[in-house]
Symmetry: D4
Subunit: 230 residues, 8 copies
Amino acid sequence: MDSDWDLTPDTSRKQRLGFDETIFCASKTPDQINRLVQGALKAEETLLLTRLGQKKFAGLSSELADFLDYDQVSHTAILGHIAVAEDPPRVAIVTGGSSDVRVAREAARTLQYYRIGVREIYDVGVAGLWRLLEHVDELQDMSIVITVAGMEGTLPSVMAGLVPGLVIAVPVATGYGVAADGTTALNSALASCAPGLVVVNVDNGYGAGCAALRMLNVMQRRPPGGEGYG
Amino acid sequence: MDSDWDLTPDTSRKQRLGFDETIFCASKTPDQINRLVQGALKAEETLLLTRLGQKKFAGLSSELADFLDYDQVSHTAILGHIAVAEDPPRVAIVTGGSSDVRVAREAARTLQYYRIGVREIYDVGVAGLWRLLEHVDELQDMSIVITVAGMEGTLPSVMAGLVPGLVIAVPVATGYGVAADGTTALNSALASCAPGLVVVNVDNGYGAGCAALRMLNVMQRRPPGGEGYG
Amino acid sequence: MDSDWDLTPDTSRKQRLGFDETIFCASKTPDQINRLVQGALKAEETLLLTRLGQKKFAGLSSELADFLDYDQVSHTAILGHIAVAEDPPRVAIVTGGSSDVRVAREAARTLQYYRIGVREIYDVGVAGLWRLLEHVDELQDMSIVITVAGMEGTLPSVMAGLVPGLVIAVPVATGYGVAADGTTALNSALASCAPGLVVVNVDNGYGAGCAALRMLNVMQRRPPGGEGYG
Amino acid sequence: MDSDWDLTPDTSRKQRLGFDETIFCASKTPDQINRLVQGALKAEETLLLTRLGQKKFAGLSSELADFLDYDQVSHTAILGHIAVAEDPPRVAIVTGGSSDVRVAREAARTLQYYRIGVREIYDVGVAGLWRLLEHVDELQDMSIVITVAGMEGTLPSVMAGLVPGLVIAVPVATGYGVAADGTTALNSALASCAPGLVVVNVDNGYGAGCAALRMLNVMQRRPPGGEGYG
Amino acid sequence: MDSDWDLTPDTSRKQRLGFDETIFCASKTPDQINRLVQGALKAEETLLLTRLGQKKFAGLSSELADFLDYDQVSHTAILGHIAVAEDPPRVAIVTGGSSDVRVAREAARTLQYYRIGVREIYDVGVAGLWRLLEHVDELQDMSIVITVAGMEGTLPSVMAGLVPGLVIAVPVATGYGVAADGTTALNSALASCAPGLVVVNVDNGYGAGCAALRMLNVMQRRPPGGEGYG
Amino acid sequence: MDSDWDLTPDTSRKQRLGFDETIFCASKTPDQINRLVQGALKAEETLLLTRLGQKKFAGLSSELADFLDYDQVSHTAILGHIAVAEDPPRVAIVTGGSSDVRVAREAARTLQYYRIGVREIYDVGVAGLWRLLEHVDELQDMSIVITVAGMEGTLPSVMAGLVPGLVIAVPVATGYGVAADGTTALNSALASCAPGLVVVNVDNGYGAGCAALRMLNVMQRRPPGGEGYG
Amino acid sequence: MDSDWDLTPDTSRKQRLGFDETIFCASKTPDQINRLVQGALKAEETLLLTRLGQKKFAGLSSELADFLDYDQVSHTAILGHIAVAEDPPRVAIVTGGSSDVRVAREAARTLQYYRIGVREIYDVGVAGLWRLLEHVDELQDMSIVITVAGMEGTLPSVMAGLVPGLVIAVPVATGYGVAADGTTALNSALASCAPGLVVVNVDNGYGAGCAALRMLNVMQRRPPGGEGYG
Amino acid sequence: MDSDWDLTPDTSRKQRLGFDETIFCASKTPDQINRLVQGALKAEETLLLTRLGQKKFAGLSSELADFLDYDQVSHTAILGHIAVAEDPPRVAIVTGGSSDVRVAREAARTLQYYRIGVREIYDVGVAGLWRLLEHVDELQDMSIVITVAGMEGTLPSVMAGLVPGLVIAVPVATGYGVAADGTTALNSALASCAPGLVVVNVDNGYGAGCAALRMLNVMQRRPPGGEGYG
């Protein structure tokens, strides 16, 4: 029986939404990824690949893999130059513990793909609150703070009570027992008593990066007027 | 036994976060609300009250109630002048059905309290997709689109695939069976295949308004540079 | 201790329900499957096998396996000729993303086993809505549209608002976080605001195929009268 | 503050999907319902209203209520003539117990609004299986069997093993303990070992009626050819 | 650091409850099992071992394993003679499908360890109801019917409506989607509309066997009087 | 529109299962109950009614109500003489706390309807274990012990470790937080480490009574032989 | 039918555990409470009553009610003198918001019944972290800190990272959406990354008070030696 | 791309809370663990490592591993001398079954790291209640009793009703079906009817040990006065 069906790439996404379609590798075979990378190389396009585990990366064609900038921690790969702007970053990414770094890095890499620099502050969870408080001044100047935390997910709530920028919570599936699948961290962020905290799916560093990108694109596009709110 | 304990208002919130403490009336008695309104009147401060049901509003001191601008749909009340800027709004609030309006209005009123105008487009859910498509051009120009939807919560995902601004999903507890408590709409938004969609708690129109406010405050405060991302 | 018990095949299913008993291989050993295939070969009967993973298929007797038309994507195998009618298909199968194809193909293969042709349209999820809208005219002519979608499962609701035929939703266990086990896509379809959408179990492409078969069998059996509803 | 927003009725639904927009009264005030009924009267249009509880019905304007055919059991009202065709019905609605009748009647009334007759067989749950078996011959001739059952929801699975037509399961929120919210009956239908059973949301008699209507509309529209499947 | 702690076997269980302590092997190492078997051999005691997977069984000392009657299907092993009484059995064990046999056999083996014969009737689920109805007369004479079923778990409810003896439901973790972990089959049995159905944990064939044993022990011990109930 | 449907009583239940159909009043109107009682009076039949709340009982026709033996605690009513046998009871019903008595009494009344005496021992939960231990000797002689417990539901497990008879757990929806809906007590009984404990639905005192009745009917019907198990 | 059953008070609890049996009024009628209070008055015993809502309290015999010290906030009543020791308290009770006070007061009243003074610090949740930090020095000297918080329940984790004493988390069912039933606050406390935080059931202020009492009783009873840990 | 981020150890934890930061190895690579151990060796500091599985331990540098006291049962390792005080222990650790020992030992090792001796009593679950009752006198003298139990988790409730000290429940993820993930044991402990029972996360032996340490540190620090409560 022939395979008489085909996939339908979203070719107008860049123009519509301001960013490229990204290759989510978790549900793709090495073969499929090889073809996508080769296609992009031919078309001289850049490419962001996420959820590309080390085993699957090792299974790619080595000629193609040489073109990829692969990050072991976040399981992301980037095809194309990465030239982050030198301006002081307007996005901070903060994690509660060391287990959250893999997800935080996915957000960081997503932004770097779009040449946006980020300030990364890791392992400053509230079990040792002084670690976070040391960074408050710096964080209060940020446009966007992405908080990445598993277990009980206290960090986003504390952060949203300390800084005026947009705070995005990325819950992480880390820990055991009631924390195992990230639902506790997720619900903790959703139920937060700190006003205006927004949330993405468990482990969705990529989504947090895209949300930040949407806001930065808007800021770039439309200079704010002088309405005097705030 | 004496009541030797007292509450601790967050007096520096405005300065820290850029917005006032809001009175969440669901867990307060009419008496407590009366005292808070009276206090604000004396101090010549404005006040936003949320989750103020009609019965509870009717139970307030009528002298005080006369000072409040009360909205029956959203169960919000505002103390102070409401003078929304005349500029074309940069925030749109869109609902899937008519049952979602009570939550959408909570977001609208929150922004209006801060003198921010909003564009309200209601009852354009995907069961009749043409209703939404008619508004796409207008929505693509918005900085922020707040989508408010219960039942299966399809609207936020469709919206985030159509417009480049920040899209905030507010799930609503409407419908019956698996839809009854809003969890389906919530999870649908979190699991969205559209990149960069952010989410707040079920029925949390106030939170969506605050998130929009955070972004607008940042845009006001810090003019974007010319880094060239996007 | 002897094995003094035996299984009880449902020998009258074809006559009662209009379709054969299918071999669900997930809970069977290669040995059991070998015997069932051999029995069918002897009896000159056709056979549909589902959930036959590649490892298990490789473990079958190679003589028997040669008689099977095996599909790697859907993990199905068919014993017997597959001669799909040449008429334009009255059933469409549509997926949101590429990860949903394995389940969509299970439905397609189930119908093909009964010599029913299907129109397969894959990877047209609402994150890029234009991809779906391009097919609306074609889909409005279908008797049955099987929608296969994981993540937030928006596709079935959008589809049921666009086409008049019977729309069957097959939720898929794809994605991560709240999407991981397919419950979000399932509940999203059940809670749909689009009227008359029907749903089967997560990943149950086979069940969707059988439901379509039931409807087609009825249409074949009993020509509709002229009552004038609709 | 003025109410400067309005709702957006789905005016092309009939033409697109083959049925009218229905008034879901659970989330509407008597006032809103009055206006909708009055509008339909003026426009000489028929109207189906669901989830119209007795208290809310009693709160409608009595002049308008006189035009409505109200059914206390199903909480539905119909504006317009109800002239069901005299042909033997092709749709059966079957319930497990007497508590399921309210939901079954919602499906029956939905079909009757479209002038489709139904055969209603109630209270034949499997605790007394002989009651169901007495009707098997009759049910095997039906095009569609809608099974309505709460508690453990055994009826749909048994039915789908006995009859060849399309079987639609409507789970009901009846019983107590693990049965209370209808989830057990819902999951039981979804997990059914009987092939091709399709399911709608808990208590969604209206949805089951609409699904049946979709199938009947297709049968009416497009006479089946002679492809020879089945 | 020394291991200065020890386990505490329940030495009086036989006398108190009428049955021996059973070795639940899932959480024990081969080493621990070897020692327990050796101890029983020395003491000339019989022993029932459950959840002894094939890999773990293969890891036991081969000298000891030779003394064990091992059953691959149920993952049970018995040390000691198995001499089931020749009387017609008063306990039947019935399964819905072939996947349920592993659990059914655990119940059968538990009873056989206590020299109680059972009638095993497998694969008679309600998708083909005639298979079950053929056995009704025989089952109505049984003192106890143990029903073992996964997926939607319809069998116990149907059975409890057909036979007067004690009906014990054993839900099974088989199937996929909402059926995967056995909760649907469990809740279906608990919510049953058939009166007097009792339930044990998912996959707990051993528990069902013990419950039957409790009832048979009581019947043995205390001849019923002539009170005339029933 | 006429009500052209009717209910289908299970007229052969007594003969098939050994007990009468019972009137579950929770989902019936006073009117429906009146008719059922009147019918039974005319036919000179006895009747057991459950879940008949005090308000609903007060709403019955007072002439009919005079014939009913109503129990405020269990919300049960019995039509007909209640003449419990004088023999020492073989069934004990034991509760953990005072809140569980309403459910325990439903079981007791169910058995009394069938002229079976029960020993009721209430409020002996494990928070004060000595209260339970004082009754162990008496309970070890019982054929059946029905344990009724909410909150954490410890009682059934402790009981099943102390007595050899059939132990039936009835979880109760009492307490707050994680205990509120009875799921904790239910799962606690299902997961019990004490072998052979069987369970019914939350608050299902009636079901526990029927299970006991099934066992007693078997004991009455078929004198145990001398096989020598146990 | 006579009420031939009786309750079994736990008369030796004081001696065994060091505290009295408490009257949980939620599941008792005013009549039952009247009798219990009268009994205690006659026996000249003190009594603690919890979950005694204002309506139920108003329904008590007014003569008896006069003897009770009733607290409207916590719904507790105390029979007997309340003479709290003048020493500086070793237990602090801290809440996140004003909605948590009703639960905090239940803990406070429980300890006061045992003549233990508490330091109450309310409404210092992390949305305004400075409010909490102002009290850190005082709290670091406490033996026990009971934290009472609903919504996302951040407070216990932050507290357990700041103070060395025993920290007990009492989750509160306050808020809406995912926060509504207190499960989010509960799981947040259980999953805490701060070591040694212990948790009680949602809204269980009484339980937290009893846990504190257990620790204080131990400290009273057994002076610590000089082993040198810590 | 360089790794321009670093972790932030909580260097003041000892001084603030009275205990060291512990290495949670589950989310760390052997490499990371090697560096942490080496660092501690250089700094001449002691170290407690938890969740260090046997495979991961085998993957550590063998030179470093030689310095570690590794416990296979609890998957803990200790760097530094372990000299437990000879005084009779004030902490008991009690398990229901043998599967719970791995978690109990994690608590024991945590306390031993701080030179606190514990009394370990294992496998005394309530299925054979006499085993527990034999130890009641000894346990009533303990300051703290840590109960470790999976399955239905009955042990903590029974214990808290028998002894006056602080009782800490550690639920364990053992068993199958509803017991598999430890939630049943967790909820059972939270819902306990025994007053003052406190709970930690599933499998969190380390947390229970830290809670005990907090209480012992307080007892050491602050001699109780003579207030006369209890």
